[in-house]
Symmetry: C2
Subunit: 151 residues, 2 copies
């Protein structure tokens, strides 16, 4: 068959795309009550590890463009989760810091990872098997990061 490789069934990328979407969906039961979206949750993960970071650092850690992160942070500021202040040394920078609400949310989010693990176990597929993908995904991501740069 000449077009065998164009079959959906044979495509890893489609699976990645779908798995990522459905996974984000699996967060809904836990993030909705907190009024968070998944990308907003990711920003909080970054800030919980280290508060007071410029936009660029956050974007870099999430492998996102700043023009994605900026509106995200604006919405999070409006929601009272973070504040954005001008950098002191470099006044081009916007330093993003957690508000009291943003800090406190960590406590409420503490159990989300294990809840998700439990959900995944419940519906077939072990967490171990999924964790085994980590090194491969990391290599894939690392490779694709390079591809972006080299035309």
């Amino acid at each position: 068959m000449e077009y065998e490789q164009l079959k959906l069934e044979n495509q890893v990328c489609f699976r990645l795309y779908t798995a990522a979407r459905l996974t984000m969906g699996a967060y809904h039961p836990y993030l909705d009550p907190l009024g968070l979206t998944y990308p907003q949750y990711l920003v909080l993960l970054v800030l919980w590890e280290q508060d007071k970071q410029p936009v660029n650092d956050i974007a870099h850690k999430l492998l996102l463009e700043t023009n994605t992160v900026t509106p995200l942070l604006q919405r999070m500021e409006k929601a009272g989760l973070v504040k954005r202040t001008k950098g002191k040394e470099d006044s081009r920078q916007r330093i993003v810091s957690l508000t009291k609400k943003g800090i406190e949310m960590r406590e409420q989010a503490k159990h989300i990872p294990e809840c998700l693990s439990a959900d995944i176990i419940k519906n077939e597929g072990s967490v171990e098997e999924i964790s085994q993908m980590i090194p491969t995904l990391d290599k894939l991501i690392e490779g694709l990061k390079q591809t972006e740069k080299n035309p």
Copy 2:
């Protein structure tokens, strides 16, 4: 450490999310010249396997909602790739069929899968290793599909 599990580094989901985004980005060099986006390419994959399908079938195969697929198809119709006609038996249905342009594009897209494989090989990480994720991703997707249904 109490919040160890909230570290970005320990999260499979973030890797899936990132890998999926970067992978879609890797399609750009091949899809842009054809004037296609990745989801539009996916719709074409579905239609190339079987022409003349109702919106629902396409959405179901891509695991998307119809309210995502409908505007997608409207844009593809405007681009002259598909046409949408009322179903004969069930007039609620919209049957999506390939135009001449949509059919011919298959020939131009034929080599995209191998191009992508080549790109991935080039930047570290073998295709074999990535293909090994397929069964796990399939189980994960199957599990998450169930989770959607059961509250």
